[in-house]
């Protein structure tokens, strides 16, 4: 495990673990967020038959870097009527919630920030914490659009947590573990061992499990879209009605922090679905390192597959954003309480019956 190796290298457990904890921030979240913004613009351009950013660097590859440079240079405005301490704190609180979730994500069999037994549960807990940051941002800006956005966002996130957790509980009931690293380890080697295809169980149970697990994944995916405020559930931001929702009043680097948190959250929810349903860091068809006999290649491949699968689901989220229209507030609540939650309960009972045999 890399944290232990670093602890040994620096001769101090505390420093080693601290550096291991900071690794995903610099090695993955920042570059990923930069290119996710670029990908989002390219995807939207493709969907709308445009070219998209194409001026900075080849094919516009450096566009978002230029954007970040612009945001850094911008004046950091705090509105005169804003509640200053809360206004300054809010973006960091939101980002802390996102970043804390990365601690329990298994990037590979040798790298997981903290191999805790409650992995899934912990991630759901800390990512629900970003709600507080959203409310702070919306209230501190002292702007009616911000407050509306924050209120909508909170109502939405708190409601959609129910089906998301139920879907995860129904999957965990079959799996029998909350530790994301263990869950990934179980789904060995080939893609028919992924939990969405019934997992590494044998016999008739595997085929019975395919449909309920797929339903659980779909419910979790829809609910997680709502939790990260993506279209079709983007009423908290709703550019055409609320200016920009809870981050209307923010400029410069603080605005960039909101974007970093949003894209980070998108990856976190995708990573949870990947670890539970799509085999985590396992490769879908065996390891190159195994067949070549190079043992150090396997963890590298695992990191690649984890990030690849996660990014693929992020891409699906972008695809949905530019395909579906936005829901109204009442439709949003209807979808959650009248459809997703009852279906999640039925699914839970169904999986419970199957696991009894």
């Amino acid at each position: 495990m890399i944290p232990d190796y670093l602890a040994e290298f620096f001769g101090n457990k505390f420093i080693g673990y601290l550096i291991a904890a900071a690794l995903p921030l610099f090695l993955w979240i920042l570059p990923y967020a930069l290119y996710a913004v670029y990908a989002e613009r390219k995807v939207s351009a493709f969907m709308q038959d445009r070219i998209g950013p194409n001026r900075v660097g080849p094919k516009g590859l450096f566009q978002t870097i230029a954007d970040i440079l612009k945001l850094i240079q911008k004046e950091d405005i705090v509105p005169a009527s804003a509640d200053k301490p809360l206004f300054v704190m809010a973006p960091y609180v939101i980002f802390a919630g996102t970043f804390a979730a990365f601690a329990a994500l298994p990037f590979s069999s040798i790298y997981i920030g903290s191999n805790i037994n409650l992995g899934v549960f912990y991630i759901m807990a800390v990512s629900s914490f970003s709600v507080v940051g959203i409310l702070m941002a919306g209230w501190a800006g002292n702007n009616k659009y911000s407050l509306y956005g924050a209120m909508r966002s909170v109502a939405q996130i708190v409601s959609y947590e129910v089906p998301a957790l139920l879907a995860i509980v129904s999957a965990v009931m079959v799996i029998g573990s909350l530790n994301l690293n263990e869950i990934s380890e179980m789904q060995t080697a080939y893609f028919w061992n992924w939990w969405i295809f019934g997992g590494p169980v044998v016999g008739i149970k595997k085929f019975l499990l395919i449909i309920p697990m797929t339903i659980a994944f779909i419910i979790f995916f829809i609910a997680s879209l709502a939790e990260v405020n993506r279209t079709p559930f983007d009423i908290p931001e709703a550019e055409s009605e609320l200016v920009a929702g809870f981050h209307t009043e923010y400029t410069g680097m603080k605005f960039a922090m909101f974007f970093l948190a949003e894209y980070g959250n998108m990856f976190v929810v995708s990573a949870i679905s990947v670890s539970i349903f799509f085999g985590g860091w396992q490769s879908p068809f065996g390891y190159l390192g195994n067949s070549l006999g190079i043992s150090w290649l396997i963890p590298v491949e695992q990191v690649f597959w984890f990030l690849f699968k996660g990014s693929l689901l992020v891409l699906v989220q972008m695809w949905l954003r530019w395909t579906l229209p936005r829901l109204r507030v009442d439709q949003l609540m209807t979808v959650c309480w009248k459809y997703l939650t009852p279906y999640a309960f039925i699914n839970l009972v169904l999986i419970g019956i199957i696991t009894l045999f």
Binding site: F121, A125, F129, V132, L135, G138, W139, L178
Partner: protein, 171 residues
């Protein structure tokens, strides 16, 4: 000092300051946010006590759900700063402070005089197992099964009561 002791002291300082600031603070929005900070400190204590499950539950239930409800209501009601601390010396406050001081003295007498040498036990080696989700669920679904079912009934009553009270009118 070990890392554990340093963590304990930091968490105790955070918990005490946030609790004190909470009752002194005039702006209710700040009070709620301080209470959330206090709950995070408590979650830290639970981790120090090897109660992982309760620590995560604390964040999920309190910081993620109950406190959001509080913040939501405060922002919905849009309260201006209350004038609670403008008239500090009425009879009620004097009685309250006397009562508080007596309570603190009682605790002090108990901990520093009566139980001076007791209670110095150290943490049980079983604590890691006792705090694990496996052990807790075993006990919860066998010994405490009926209280657990009653809890679900309490939550149902809570939901119905909240809807009846908060809904403006039933047509």
């Amino acid at each position: 000092m070990t890392l554990e002791q340093i963590t304990f002291i930091i968490l105790a300082l955070i918990g005490l300051t946030s609790a004190l600031m909470l009752i002194i603070q005039k702006n209710p929005v700040y009070s709620v946010l301080l209470l959330i900070l206090h709950f995070f400190a408590l979650a830290g204590f639970y981790l120090l006590l090897n109660a992982q499950f309760i620590a995560v539950l604390q964040i999920l239930v309190y910081a993620g759900a109950i406190m959001v409800l509080f913040v939501f209501v405060i922002m919905l009601l849009n309260l201006s700063n209350e004038e609670a601390l403008k008239d500090p010396f009425n009879l009620r406050k004097i009685i309250a402070s006397i009562f508080g001081v007596v309570l603190i003295l009682q605790f002090g007498v108990f901990f520093f005089i009566k139980a001076k040498d007791d209670l110095n036990v150290t943490i049980s080696p079983n604590s890691i197992e006792a705090g694990s989700i496996k052990k807790i669920s075993e006990v919860l679904f066998s010994t405490y099964l009926i209280p657990f079912e009653v809890t679900s009934f309490i939550l149902l009553v809570g939901i119905i009561a909240a809807i009846v009270l908060a809904k403006r009118k039933f047509e």
